[in-house]
């Protein structure tokens, strides 16, 4: 095998060198250890020695003296005299390192050889890759994408870095500073921290500020003896609050829903005109009477059954931000007119999302109404810790049996009533009796509202 003389790498950083001159000529005899050419690297000119004895053969493609070429570029061969006869420096078998000899003629180029794929930028067409070039390529091909030290704790940066948005959000002028911990607390509690006042240095919002706001809101949603404080800022993201509270109620209560139907033909025709009371107004009055007779249905769950003194009934209002239940206080003490005025005002305030904390806190029972959407029955979710919620369906005309004995039927307005109660607080039978009582009151409205009210 002829000995290859290639542009040597003389310094650790040397990438190319200049062939200064040949000290031996093509065809000249060279002894082992003799210098065959002079090259110039980064620092100085150096003579290149031959590690074999033989005849120097310089291929046509070899660089000309004065030419600068990459390290590893083939300069010439030292060929044993015995091999000389069959040796053509321009037609040399390539050792691809696989142990198999690959014939690569000059016309073929080398780029098609897999072992040197990607090496074409380093080599001229028709020239074989040197050991150096092959080595570089081999070393490259072994590179994997697997991080060498990923598990060893050397690589820094948490995975979150990659998830982070590419553009940073610059704080707005009026946006207060908030600690990361407080921000997280605000997010999980559905608190809009931008409206909070921070108690940290320079007004930075810290966790305690968020917790405080959250507590204020919690108490607003709690029963009458919850620690309600006046809301100071701390607007809440209603959707998140609803989500949390609904899920919580669903998870922590033992809800059972009963359905019945009430003939509200009389009730619906009792009031006419512009100041006609709403179904809520009518049913508020009815529910208040039933609740007074069934105080356990007016109770709350606070590590046990806690009866409430007053009867304060929330009415679920659909707003753009989500459902919210403003509370009509002391319903038994109010006339229908009062109830009607109060509910109208509260519903409007709710839809303007201007309810204050004391307008939504302290309910002991809740009404919800989906009748306007032609819903008959549904299973409302308890407004925990309250005991029960009454759902009103549509009051629709239906053909009903009026007298079973003589087979009389008639068209009546029928309303479906859905009562969800917390079985932890009350059993099925008392709850059923409560619902039955509501039905009775709804079907005999004169006893509630008088004939001329």
């Amino acid at each position: 095998m002829p000995y290859e003389i290639a542009m040597p790498r003389l310094g650790w950083n040397m990438e190319e060198g200049t062939l200064v001159e040949w000290l031996k000529q093509d065809g000249e005899k060279v002894s082992q250890g003799e210098m065959v050419c002079t090259i110039e690297g980064d620092k100085a000119a150096t003579d290149v020695e031959s590690f074999e004895s033989g005849i120097l053969k310089i291929p046509d493609a070899s660089p000309q003296p004065g030419q600068t070429v990459p390290v590893g570029t083939l300069l010439g061969y030292v060929v044993a005299e015995a091999e000389l006869e069959t040796f053509d420096p321009n037609q040399v078998p390539v050792d691809d390192g696989s142990g198999e000899r690959v014939e690569a003629g000059p016309a073929q180029g080398i780029a098609s050889e897999p072992v040197v794929a990607g090496a074409e930028d380093r080599t001229e067409p028709g020239r074989k890759p040197t050991d150096y070039e092959r080595e570089r390529e081999r070393s490259r091909t072994t590179e994997s994408t697997e991080p060498a030290v990923g598990t060893a704790g050397i690589a820094t940066g948490s995975p979150r870095e990659q998830d982070a948005p590419a553009t940073g959000v610059l704080p707005e002028q009026d946006t207060p500073a908030i600690s990361p911990r407080a921000r997280r607390a605000a997010q999980s509690g559905g608190i809009d921290w931008r409206s909070l006042k921070g108690s940290g240095r320079s007004g930075r919002i810290v966790e305690r500020d968020v917790l405080e706001a959250s507590r204020r809101h919690e108490s607003a949603m709690d029963g009458p003896d919850g620690k309600a404080t006046a809301a100071r800022g701390g607007q809440v993201d209603l959707r998140k609050v609803i989500a949390r509270r609904m899920a919580e109620a669903h998870r922590t209560t033992a809800p059972v829903t009963l359905h019945t139907e009430a003939d509200v033909t009389v009730l619906s025709s009792m009031f006419e005109g512009a100041n006609r009371p709403s179904w809520y107004d009518l049913m508020l009055k009815i529910a208040a009477i039933a609740l007074a007779e069934h105080p356990v249905m007016n109770a709350s769950w606070r590590d046990g059954v806690a009866l409430n003194d007053g009867i304060h009934i929330g009415i679920a209002v659909d707003t753009a931000a989500g459902v919210i239940a403003p509370v009509i206080r002391d319903v038994p003490g109010k006339s229908l007119k009062d109830i009607s005025a109060t509910s109208k005002r509260l519903i409007q305030t709710a839809q303007e999302t201007k309810l204050t904390l004391d307008q939504i806190e302290g309910g002991t029972f809740t009404l919800t109404n989906l009748g306007m959407y032609n819903i008959d029955t549904f299973t409302p979710i308890i407004h925990s810790p309250q005991c029960a919620i009454l759902g009103l369906g549509q009051a629709a005309p239906r053909v009903v049996v009026i007298d079973e004995a003589d087979g009389t039927t008639g068209i009546r307005r029928i309303m479906s009533l859905s009562l969800t109660f917390d079985h932890r607080i009350v059993d099925g039978a008392p709850a059923a009796r409560f619902l039955q009582r509501i039905r009775q009151l709804a079907e005999a409205p004169e006893s509630v509202f008088g004939k001329s009210d």
Binding site: S179, P180, R181, R183
Partner: protein, 325 residues
């Protein structure tokens, strides 16, 4: 449990280990017949003789290099430097040789070597006898760095060091040497990389190193009267550093102060702070604070010396500042 001083406790670990392991030997200036400048080897020379209790010339580089060769060939040297400052003469040996042998031999060589010495400011020892430098060693792959703060840990960590196959710096704060405390009798090992929560609290976490642990405990006690609840953590080793315990505490308190007598730049506090920010950013309710000694050589005059070390008042101020964040 028996009441012992810090030095007695560490010496007990050494005494027991030398009885059990005949390959352990101690080198140092005065480590032989004299029993050690700080009585670290008192009574051992009589028991084990001059080969295992070896007095050296004053040539730190020389005996560090020698002990490196010894540790590679089947023995377990303990280098007693008196003062950590003296280690610096052998830094090339330590960092280029001692720390790298296991890696360069692809895990075929062990490096069971303990390097012990006093650290810390106090006693008007001035700048060549007051250095700590442990952040330097914690930076280098291959080293373990133990910083006991009480007699029980002195015994337990030294016992662990004497069984480690990695080079261990065992650094004893000079202010703690005569500190007394209960020490478990018999075999007692404190594993490396397990911080101690030395006081539980909820308002803020103080990570304190060596002597600062005691300051932190006192400040925590003082402030508890004001209704402030501080958690105090003693990492005990800074290489490896038990970040999980620190993070766990920050998850609870949201506030972190690191107090370290030695220099702030590129120090242990910087490391802890960076780690907590990387892995516990959302736990933080306030910026992480550091309290360090001044970034200056150690002056001699007591007036100046006291001025460069965090004291209890400074620590209390730092805690209040942290809580006000």
């Amino acid at each position: 449990m028996t009441e012992k001083t810090f030095t007695e406790a560490a010496r007990e670990a050494l005494t027991d280990a030398m009885d059990a392991d005949p390959t352990i030997f101690v080198v140092g200036e005065g480590a032989g017949e004299r029993g050690g400048n700080f009585e670290t080897t008192l009574g051992l020379y009589e028991k084990h003789g001059p080969v295992r209790l070896c007095d050296t010339p004053i040539c730190e580089r020389g005996f560090i290099g020698m002990c490196t060769g010894a540790a590679m060939t089947g023995t377990r040297p303990v280098v007693d430097f008196m003062f950590t400052d003296f280690i610096l003469d052998g830094l090339g040996e330590l960092i280029n040789q001692t720390s790298k042998m296991q890696y360069m031999s692809n895990g075929r060589l062990k490096m069971p070597m303990v390097l012990r010495g006093c650290i810390g400011i106090g006693h008007s020892a001035a700048t060549h006898h007051s250095g700590s430098y442990y952040p330097l060693f914690a930076h280098i792959p291959g080293f373990r760095v133990a910083l006991p703060s009480n007699p029980a840990d002195a015994k337990g960590l030294f016992a662990t060091a004497l069984q480690s196959d990695d080079p261990v710096f065992f650094m004893e704060h000079r202010q703690l040497l005569s500190l007394k405390g209960p020490v478990p009798d018999g075999e007692h090992r404190v594993p490396f990389g397990q911080a101690a929560v030395v006081r539980e609290g909820t308002d803020a976490t103080i990570v304190a190193l060596t002597v600062m642990v005691h300051h932190a405990l006192q400040v925590a006690e003082e402030l508890s009267g004001e209704g402030v609840s501080l958690e105090v953590i003693d990492p005990r080793t800074v290489a490896p550093l038990d970040m999980e315990t620190i993070l766990e505490s920050v998850r609870k308190t949201g506030r972190l102060l690191i107090v370290d007598e030695t220099f702030m730049p590129c120090g242990i506090g910087a490391e802890i702070s960076a780690h907590v920010t990387e892995h516990g950013f959302d736990e933080l309710d306030a910026p992480i604070m550091r309290l360090n000694g001044a970034h200056v050589p150690t002056p001699y005059s007591p007036a100046l010396e006291q001025a460069i070390v965090p004291d209890r008042a400074a620590l209390a101020r730092a805690v209040r500042g942290l809580l006000a964040e």
